[in-house]
Each structure stands twice: as C-alpha cells, then as structure tokens.
Symmetry: C2
Subunit: 355 residues, 2 copies
C-alpha cells in the first residue's frame, strides 16, 4: 500500500539507528540524526546514512535508537522538543512502555540485527523480511500506531503487536537466553581448547551456526540483562531444567526419551513460522475501527495472539471524524478463524477472498 516519505529524526547512530536512517533515506525520506559521540554524527553524514546532524522539531517521526538504558530519557526529550510521532527500538519494552505514557509514542523492537557493530554494519535492507514488534500503550493513539506501523512496513518488516510484558517474556526465550547460551558454550569450548588445541578445529558448521551470535559486540548485553532480568532468569531456569532432563536420558540410556525429545525439536524447528508464503490464497479483512484509542493496535494484537500473519494493511479514514476502517491482508486459510476472534472481541469484520 502507499508509502509516504517524510522527515525523520534518528537519535543514536549505531547499528540499528544507522540502518533505520539508511533505509529511510533510500525510500526518499529526509533524515536528520544525532549521537552522543559528535564524531559518529559527522561520520554518518559522510557515509550518507543521514542528510544532516540535528533533531528537527517538525519531523514527522523520531526514531530513538540509543542503548536500552538511555531510551526513556531520549523518548521524553523527543516528545518535548518535536511535534511528530515517536518510536524506539529498545530490546526490552516493559520498563520503557511503563515510564512513557503519551498518545504520540509507540514503543517498538525490530527483530533483526547482525554481528557487526556501529555504522560499519548499518544496512538499509536489514529489516526486509523481519518481524518488528510494536507494543502500544493504553495512551498510544491509533493515528500514531498506524503511522509507525506504516514506516515499519515500508522498511520491509512485518508488524506484530504484543503487550510489552509479553514481548519481554518471549524475547527472553528466543533471543536473550539463546545469546547467553551461545556465549556460554563458546566460552566452555574456549576453555577446553586450552587442554586440547585441536578442539576448535573440529568445530564444524553446526557449532559455527550455534555460536555466531556470540561474535557480536557485548556492550548492549549488561543493559538488556538488567532490564529483562526476571524473564531471562525464568527462561534460563527452564533451559537448565530441560538440560537436566536431557542429561538423565543420556545417563540412563533412555533411547525412547531421547528420540521423543529430538523428534519434538525437529518438528518444531521445521514448523518455525515464516512470512506469508507467496502463491497462497489471500483474504482481505475489513474491520471498522470504533472511536476509542488503541482499537487498531488491539486488532493487530489479536492477530499476534491467534498466530495470524498480517502481510499487508491499510487504514482508511471515514468521513465521520475519528472513525475508520482497518484493512488487513492475511492468508485465506486463516480468514474464518480470525473473523471469529474479531467478533469475540466486539469487532464487526467483513472478509473478501482475493484472487
């Protein structure tokens, strides 16, 4: 659907901020940026990641891409000194969403990155095909949500809406603990390599795949571990419990138990969801959105709850003021399921199959 280029500020010009800036510029946006490190701002201009240094008060959107611990202050400053929408890209959301309540603010987290660091790794296409979580608060306006969601779509990502606390619990399992796990496994292999220098030469593709994330820069992790401490500890405990079960199967020669566990993992791995596949039948779901804050975000949140992929969407404003229609494109096979869920939440959806 139509993408409108505008003016954006990017606060914090590291890997993610630099990638957002580069991606927006490539899509016709005028991008200004700031960084605590003046040299990095100058470097960003020099590399063409941003047009100019600075924070434009009249920018349509300000993207806060500072380290997690600095996000709240930067978002508050952006809300105070600009008139547009504000979003952030912090990896932990509950603290941020709890501390900033503003109709213009949409907390977010793109599930994309790389092992590179800073502007060297910045890539305007980094978000193509990625999931980008938005965690709107009770105060976030539908207009802010729709505007930020459109920018996310323009950068090639798929919007998934989750409550902030749920986001944090889920990323602990699929991102934070796997990262700590990879580092712990790599450190163990490194220590054992002191005794057996050949050890690391035997590290084949599987081991290299599993430890790749450990080659990333560690600076962001103490903040993430502090901000998402409880969810990380809970997921770590679950993992250690699972390893204890696996150990017992190995120690006891429980062939059936091992096979069942490995088969469960295999099925789950093979069924990891991907974006809407090309070639499948699609359906258009039209949802009149009532005049209350957060209704559009609630529709997206329900899609996430039900596991329904939204491959495209548009907000059409009606002539009656704040009311509008949210149009979502989903797989046709999910249409009835999604329609049932929407009715149960008080919406009145219409469904049309697309060719």
């Amino acid at each position: 659907m139509t993408e409108r280029a505008g003016r954006a500020n990017v606060v914090g010009l590291g890997l993610v901020g630099g990638s957002v800036a580069t991606g927006l510029r490539a899509r016709g946006w005028h991008v200004t940026g700031t960084d605590l490190d003046p040299a990095r701002g100058a470097d960003a201009v020099h590399r063409g990641a941003i047009d100019d240094i600075g924070l434009r008060p009249d920018a349509d959107l300000t993207v806060v891409a500072t380290p997690v611990a600095a996000v709240v202050a930067a978002v508050k400053e952006a809300l105070a000194s600009t008139t547009g929408w504000v979003t952030d890209v912090g990896s932990v959301k509950a603290g941020i969403a709890g501390e900033v309540a503003d109709a213009r603010f949409v907390p977010g987290h793109p599930m994309a990155g790389s092992e590179q660091h800073g502007l060297d790794g910045a890539d305007g296409d980094m978000f193509e095909g990625a999931i980008w979580v938005l965690t709107p608060t009770a105060e976030t306006s539908d207009a802010a949500f729709a505007a930020v969601a459109h920018v996310v779509s323009a950068l090639g990502s798929e919007v998934v809406v989750l409550p902030p606390e749920r986001h944090d619990a889920l990323v602990a399992v699929v991102s934070h603990v796997p990262h700590l796990m990879a580092a712990t496994m790599m450190a163990l292999a490194d220590e054992r390599a002191d005794e057996h220098v050949a050890l690391l030469r035997l590290a084949a593709g599987g081991f290299r795949d599993m430890t790749r994330v450990a080659s990333g820069h560690p600076a962001i992790w103490p903040d993430i571990c502090a901000e998402n401490r409880d969810a990380i500890l809970d997921a770590l405990d679950g993992l250690v419990r699972g390893l204890g079960e696996t150990r017992a199967m190995v120690a006891g020669g429980d062939r059936d138990g091992l096979l069942a566990r490995l088969e469960q993992a295999r099925m789950a791995r093979q069924n990891l969801p991907s974006r809407v596949a090309t070639g499948v039948s699609l359906a258009e779901v039209r949802v009149p959105v009532p005049d209350r804050p957060g209704a559009a975000a609630e529709v997206f949140g329900l899609a996430a709850d039900l596991g329904v992929n939204v491959s495209d969407f548009e907000v059409v404003h009606s002539s009656e003021g704040d009311k509008g229609v949210l149009i979502l494109v989903i797989e046709a096979a999910h249409a009835d399921y999604f329609r049932g869920g929407l009715r149960a939440r008080g919406f009145r959806p219409g469904v049309r199959l697309l060719d």
Copy 2:
C-alpha cells in the same frame, strides 16, 4: 598432489555413505555399494551414487558408513572379505578403534553433514573444506594411513589425526552437546509457544541459526549418546555449570562479569580456526619416516596437537624398502614451531619456504 582413482566399496548408503560414493564417482572411482535395505541400494544405482550393488573383494578401499552401532561388525566383515584398506565414518571412535586392531583399518570421522537425510541429501562436495579426523590405532600401517588420508584429501577435506579417546572428548564439546543443546532449546521454545502463540514468530536469525541442527533426523543420536555417554555427560555438566555462572551474573547484576564472559566468547568465536588462508606464505616440511608402524600418523597427530594446519601432503617412498619421506605443506609462520615439535619427538625434519 596426485590423486589416483581406484575401486571402492561403500557399506551403508545413507547421507554420508551416499555422499562419499557420489564424491568418489565424480573423481573417477568405480564404486560398488551395499545397504541393509535392498530398495536403497537400487535407488543408489538409479541416482548414479554407485556403479553397482555389491562388495568387491578386490576393491582398493572399503568405506563403512553404517550407523555407529553397526560399524564394528561391518568393518570386521570388510576386513575378512576384501583385500584393500578399510575405513569408517562413525561419529564416536574409541569403541570402534578398541575393538578392531588391523594393519589395514584406519578409523575416521568426517566433520561434515547436513540436516537432510539419506540419499536425498547426498552430495559429493559435502566434504569440501571440512575437517576429516583419522584416529589410527597402534596396528594401523603407514601405508593404510597414507592411502586413506589421500582419499580424504581427494574429497576436499583436511586430515586431522587424533587419538580416538581425544576425538570423542572433543566432539562431545563441539558437536554432540551443542546438538542436544539446540534440541533442548527448541523444545523449550515449543513448549512455551503453547501459551504464547506469537513466541515462535519472534524467532529471528540468531535463534534460527542456533536451532538449525535440531531439524536433522534424530535416528542416529541414541547410538551416539550411548557410545559417547561419559564424554557427553562431562561436557553437559560443564555447560550447565557455565550456565549457572551466567545466571548468577544476571541475577546479581554483575555487569563486569557479563561483559568479560561475552568478550571472551566473542574473541574465541572470531578466532575460530579456518583452513590455511589463501595468500599466506607456505613452507614445505620434509620428514623422513622411519621403519616403524604409525610414524606417519604420529607426524599428523603432532600437527593436530600443536594446532598446525596441514594444507597438503605427500608420501614419497625411498628405494630402501619401507622407509619414506612425508612431505607436508603448512603455513610458513608455523614452520619453526612445528620443526621444534618434530625434533622433540625424534624426527629429523627439513624445512623449505615456498614462494
């Protein structure tokens, strides 16, 4: 160095056996093969993985590629019914090396594979650039070792020689436990996805990388876990201990400890050894090999102990019967170090820098 095509038997036509057969045929060998499942043998002929079904008594080499638990019987049968060299590709080596003592047998393990299964995944180039461990026994003759090592090189792999017990301890750390870990992590995520259907949609590149090995076929793992039980339990315990330390750092907000651990892992991951880089200076090391069994294997074993990559090698037989010269090509920067090690083990190496 020169590669001589000959006749090979391949016993067991699964992923690895099928890949060895395909790779040898592509390099001019005549390959016969057998499998417990007659349909699979016929399929292998149909696909062109082997020339014929059967076990030729006069084959130059028999490669045993059965499941680990069946290797010893198949190797003994090959030694009894053929006159050539025999090797195997089992993932655990101490049991096999301990049960078969024969001058013609060289136990081996290619550190390559894929998540595919059976002949569908067979690929004659699977071993290009991989490490292929050989674990010669006290009885293995130099001629057998040299012949098998040459075939391994012809398939594109780098030979690393290790004692069987050491091989098993090392692969527990870099292969077996990482595999169990990936499956355990995937199973945990799958269980939590029952509560939060959105969880697996957030699984980005890092999680997908880490769990990729878990999508492989589980059938081989109960055998591997049984054969390498003690080393796997030891490595699992080390991993759980390491996770306990990581957990304590997260729980206690130990930023410095976390940074140090992640930085150690990052350095180790970035320094994972690769094959001899192109463009580096090379040296040729000539090692007269005395007339005793295992001398050539001992030279390779020392290279593995010292972490010296052998990028190419040749055995030149002297006119004085069983004596010969082993010529190895290594990085020039390692030449003095390797020469010192060889002298300390009683060899009399000569070194020549190559252009």
